[in-house]
Symmetry: none
Subunit: 218 residues, 4 copies
DNA sequence: AATGAATGAGCTTTCATTCAT
DNA sequence: GATGAATGAAAGCTCATTCAT
């Protein structure tokens, strides 16, 4: 398990000691749930296990989250928010579209490396557990992840950086695919590559393809 | 549910009526299990549901498969075999490496479109359920999916078709990622693209990248 | 499995070929059921197993016996009848009571050795399976096993052979206990004794006890 | 159901109220399981029934015992331990071998009368249910019940109390048989005898046999 | 606030019995 | 007569959730 900070929902100065302590425990629970979830998937993680890992009783979990589902939804909300923060910060920088996309890919890989595998977690939850997705889908449109990338790619086309003949929607889908790729690599490979190395190659292929450069370009 | 043929295990002429009927039902079960599995994942599919969907009783399932796990393993074996058959057939054709890769991608997308989403199925099974993977892993090495692609990409590098500076392992991982991509698209998008259209774009990007061609190339 | 004749319910000459063949199969089923029952007990023997051992289908079993319970009841009836026949034959012989008891013990042990462990089978059936015992208890009084022995022991007391101060009921119970003893021995010991050797010792103890004979008797 | 004390695992003063309450319930479960087991045998006792008899839900059973098998093993361990304690205490007394054997028989009968029918319980478990016996057999050798009796009978032979011409192994088997006898009596007879009366007669027969004493002895 | 005992619905699996062929 | 596919009623076990303490 890797160490990673969990964003406080409130600035700690505005809270009493008790409240802060409570938040801290909530964070611990989310952390434990996260790890177990990645490892086993939604159905195979028991509330007991999460409680045990945090060192509290099962009953106490329910003082922090109304249900297993609520716990997971909160976890995903949090990771989505975190991810969006990252994306927005990069997207608003003054750089070429390509540079920003490359940066996003690299930072995504770094996040995955540090355990913020929210994209992977999504898969691990298992097919539906219907209500979870229902709940999240009501919130995700608000986040408009797809919209942000659509605008970025459109900007790239406009500026002449990107091939305007390729549908934007496919570009977005493809980019999402490449973002997930590293998570898979981490799980599958015994000696996973570092984010930087992986991102370098993927970025190169993304913009220039696998084809060997023509002789004149050498 | 999409229509798709299920490979008979025996030529139908060599079997009695009863036997053929039995095989037909086995196929129906596999089909139903497949659909439910994709939709909900291993843990969230109850044997009851599969039985109900086929229109038989729960007990009858166990006349065809010794356990839930056996049912799923059989399903995966079948889909893996199907997929490998496709891959091998294409790989052995007399074409450039690039042409073969493009073909594989196209046919994979077609398969996905027809419901042979084995790659997706793999994910849908859910985190661990250890034994399934243990059983399959004893068989998968024999199939050596990765090995085949590694050799194909190596051949491409040797022939000068592919960029020799890109590590083969990453090429393989990237290609797998793109194969899965379409499955995701099918699940996510309300108006999914046709395999041909999707493959055309992905292949283009894969070999030339997203970057707009240089002015001289216009 | 040991070979042993099964008493035909009808003289074979009075039956058609078909009928005789049917009886033969019934006997085979009883035999198989007997063996399995001894080995595993009532609840752990599946109708499938019995059918498989006879080499017929499960459905066919039900052409011979209305239910699993009926099968077992019949088996027990048969073994009880067999056992009673043996007892009666010995009891009616012109011998001292002691000689007859010794003979019964010996022949019981021989029967156990040959697999007619009905007494043991009784236990193996498992506590109740209620209806079985209910059914048998309606028939056993008619057989009056206890009554026969009670009369025999009483005769022994009268004739001065047996100690009249010992209650007959306890003598009977004790004798039953010793009859079962050999069955236990067969199951427990890795190198079980032969019926003759075992009977010799048990008979000796039964009538003279374990105490060393007084010096004058040596 | 008969009243009988269940050995506390811990002195009650060393436990909190909760813990004691828990132990009490565990004891209740064991008690109920014991009774059902004797009455119906292992396979015919459902966890539901035990739970119902205790007045708790099925799930609660599993808070006390990991499985049905574990419950039964525990029950047997407990009764074996109890029985062995009794045996050892008597065997170490300064008495003739005969007196000690008589005492053991009497106390065994008393135990049976009070419901500690472990020997009977053993039989009632039913044919195999392999694992239970496997587990216990790993522990029983340590208890070495047979060994203890073998030594005691050998001592009796040496001292001249017992007939040295009778094989010790058979003496032991016979003695076990007589120990079980009373349990059977309790189950079978409508008006079972008291342990003392029964033991008196059995002991008499065991050492002097059924034969009427010779005239000179009168 | 925290606990953990208790619950009960739900899951996989088995098997005696039935019945169309 | 014989078959074996089909059934459905349990059984053992798990786990999210509740609640008295």
């Amino acid at each position: 398990m890797t160490t990673r900070p969990v964003a406080d929902r409130q600035a700690s100065t505005t809270m009493s000691f008790k409240a802060r302590q409570r938040e801290a425990r909530t964070a611990l629970i989310l952390q434990a749930a996260h790890d177990e979830l990645i490892a086993k998937g939604y159905r195979d993680v028991a509330m007991d296990e999460i409680a045990a890992q945090v060192g509290i009783s099962k009953g106490t979990l329910y003082l922090h989250f109304a249900s297993k589902e609520a716990l997971v939804v909160r976890l995903l909300e949090q990771e989505i928010a975190q991810f969006l923060g990252l994306i927005d910060q990069i997207m608003s920088q003054e750089m070429t579209v390509r540079a920003r996309l490359e940066r996003i890919l690299l930072e995504t890989y770094r996040g995955i490396r540090n355990g913020q595998q929210f994209l992977l977690a999504l898969r691990s939850i298992g097919g539906n557990k219907g209500d979870i997705w229902d709940r999240l889908e009501k919130q995700l449109p608000a986040t408009e992840l797809t919209g942000r990338f659509t605008r970025l790619f459109a900007e790239g086309k406009q500026s002449g950086e990107l091939d305007a003949t390729i549908p934007t929607a496919i570009m977005v889908a493809l980019f999402f695919s490449l973002m997930q790729m590293y998570a898979e690599q981490q799980l599958t490979e015994s000696q996973p590559l570092l984010p930087e190395a992986f991102a370098a190659v993927v970025n190169r292929v993304l913009f220039q393809g696998l084809a060997a450069p023509p002789p004149s370009a050498r």
